[in-house]
């Protein structure tokens, strides 16, 4: 069975969860898995297909989360509009950041560290001003109803998250089969070569980071609607950045279903560890770290590659 077939089956199976699972706990668990799968897909668009490893994807998640929270709480804007504005603004921030960084052809470790530094600056700044909730965070007032993008029934949130994940996989498949995706992969494999063939590397990467930022911001918006709370540590802290790259890398970088498989594997194991160790703080992250190390050593193409056929867009498969 190829990685794509396995991923599709998994995705289809996950659609059944809200109709089968009765426990509130497990529904929330799978909801979270889907959210991280989509966050990982957003990382994958830039990191997997674009080859730009971000260590600060929390910046974009937090941009969406705080953007929509601030607009709703401080300015009384409707949840849908606030979310749309937050996503658009974050995409613009991503494009601007990308332009600044890619203009100087910074990549590899430089790019990773700059994104991390930006996320840290955002975290400290957000925690410093009353307007952005300060150290306490932002609480979106409870007002159940579809008009406010707040649903009593968590299953509706679940179905929205599932739709997002399915959409994310479609975006990835589109990248694998479209002109833009081919250009992006070409830039990843050989920037000079791609440029010689007429691809504008800066423009290509800026578009990729804008798309990636918009996707991550969407998760942030969704997170706020679901939990009605966010603070600077959750939104911009290193945990979210690590989560984003971890699910993509463990699942399979640059593959359409890698982030989904990674999110399921990672959180299933994390939850198992929690059940066994009795929820010791930090221990599930220790496990994630060990998994990352082991995956890089033994499965450098991710869990997807465990399903036989080498994924089409894996590094080295495309010669630019």
């Amino acid at each position: 069975m190829s990685g794509k077939a396995a991923g599709s089956v998994l995705l289809a199976a996950l659609l059944a969860v809200p109709f089968v699972v009765q426990s509130e706990f497990w529904l929330s668990f799978w909801l979270l898995v889907l959210m991280f799968a989509f966050l990982g897909q957003s990382w994958n668009v830039l990191g997997g297909y674009g080859g730009q490893f971000s260590f600060g994807h929390a910046l974009f998640f937090g941009g969406g989360a705080f953007g929509t929270a601030i607009l709703q709480v401080r300015h009384g804007i409707n949840a849908y509009l606030a979310g749309a504005i937050a996503i658009t603004l974050t995409a613009m921030v991503g494009a601007l950041l990308g332009y600044l960084v890619f203009r100087y052809r910074l990549r590899g470790a430089y790019f990773a560290l700059v994104t991390l530094a930006f996320a840290e600056v955002a975290r400290v700044l957000i925690a410093s001003f009353e307007y952005t909730g300060g150290g306490f965070g932002m609480l979106v007032p409870l007002a159940r109803g579809a008009a406010n993008f707040q649903f009593d029934d968590r299953r509706i949130f679940y179905l929205i998250a599932w739709t997002l994940v399915a959409g994310g996989c479609l975006i990835a498949l589109w990248l694998e089969n479209s002109r833009f995706g081919a250009q992006l992969i070409a830039v990843r494999e050989n920037e000079d070569g791609a440029q010689a063939l007429g691809v504008d590397p800066v423009r290509t990467k800026v578009l990729a980071i804008a798309l990636s930022a918009a996707m991550a911001a969407t998760v942030g918006v969704f997170y706020v609607q679901n939990f009605l709370f966010v603070d600077s540590q959750i939104a911009f802290g290193p945990g979210m950045s690590i989560e984003a790259l971890l699910v993509a890398i463990i699942g399979g970088v640059g593959t359409a279903f890698g982030p989904l498989i990674g999110a399921v594997v990672l959180h299933a194991l994390g939850e198992l560890a929690k059940q066994i160790t009795g929820n010791a703080p930090g221990l599930n992250l220790v496990l994630y770290g060990l998994l990352l190390i082991a995956a890089l050593r033994f499965l450098p193409s991710g869990f997807v590659s465990a399903f036989g056929r080498r994924p089409k867009a894996s590094p080295g498969a495309v010669d630019a």
């Binding site: 960084v101 990773a112 700059v114 530094a117 840290e120 600056v121 190390i293 890089l296």
Partner: protein, 289 residues
């Protein structure tokens, strides 16, 4: 008038900056030779801080004496980590190393969180409150020791690199890996030695830092960013650059803390980092790549 506060702030900044420099020396050495960014560098510092703390609280060993134990121990740990964990994950791709050291950082930080909780700890050594009058300001003796100790270890590292066969081999590998291999240098061994030496520098920095600082499992994360900033600012792989940049950043942090408030102190460092990477990615002293 802030003038009365300015001089002590600058002196305190220099004292902390020397520790930044020493930490960054280890990082820049590793980068210069292996061309990898060790993301776990700060976590190893945190681990060394805890080691020094427990040697003091449980064994009564003075942190300055603990250097003699911890440097060899961390050298060995660094050697083994490079050989058994980092090298096998390389697969010829530098991103893998960045990620595997990130994995190490996650493991170390969260193990520390699990074992020792997020409680902030510090030692109250007998010289914690002893100060020296420098004429313009009073400064705790421990900070003075930290400052000169860091410079001394920097000098020691420089001497090691300049005058010994090991130093020569390390420089040869840094300059021309395959050439060094051809004349009989065991490159993988030198890689691990370099990683070990860089990690030993972290142990020294931790022992010098502990008497005037605190330790939490999160402290490594804060330090790793500062160390990267120092390395980038000084120019990747440059020793004098790392030294100068470390001192500069210590002062920047102290001044930002003074004028913007304690919590915003480190913002100055991140802003310096971002500006640096965007406008002069080769650093102040680095050569154009």
């Amino acid at each position: 008038m802030l003038g009365g506060l300015l001089v002590p702030a600058v002196i305190n900044g220099l004292a902390l900056g020397a520790i930044y420099a020493l930490t960054a020396l280890g990082l820049t050495l590793i980068y210069g030779v292996l061309h990898i960014i060790n993301f776990a560098h700060g976590s190893l510092l945190m681990l060394a801080l805890y080691a020094a703390l427990f040697l003091y609280t449980l064994g009564g060993v003075d942190p300055y004496v603990a250097i003699l134990v911890l440097m060899p121990a961390f050298f060995a740990a660094g050697y083994v980590l490079q050989r058994l964990v980092i090298q096998p994950a390389w697969h010829g791709r530098d991103e893998n190393v960045l990620l595997v050291t990130l994995g190490l950082a996650i493991v170390i930080d969260n193990l520390a969180l699990w074992l020792w909780t997020s409680t902030t700890r510090s030692i109250d050594s007998r010289y914690a409150f002893e100060v020296v009058d420098l004429g313009v300001a009073f400064i705790p003796i421990a900070k003075l020791v930290g400052f000169f100790g860091a410079l001394a270890f920097g000098a020691l590292l420089w001497a090691l690199m300049t005058f010994t066969d090991l130093g020569k081999a390390i420089r040869a590998v840094a300059r021309e890996r395959e050439g060094a291999r051809l004349v009989g240098v065991r490159v993988e061994h030198i890689y691990a030695m370099t990683f070990g030496i860089g990690t030993a520098m972290v142990a020294a920095a931790a022992c010098l830092l502990l008497p005037t600082f605190y330790v939490t499992p999160q402290v490594g994360y804060a330090f790793v960013l500062v160390a990267f900033t120092t390395v980038v600012l000084g120019g990747m792989g440059s020793f004098p650059g790392a030294l100068f940049a470390g001192l500069l950043l210590g002062v920047v942090e102290a001044l930002c803390g003074l004028y913007l408030g304690e919590s915003l102190g480190q913002i100055g460092i991140f802003v310096v980092f971002i500006l640096m990477v965007l406008f002069r990615p080769t650093g102040l002293f680095g050569a154009r790549a």
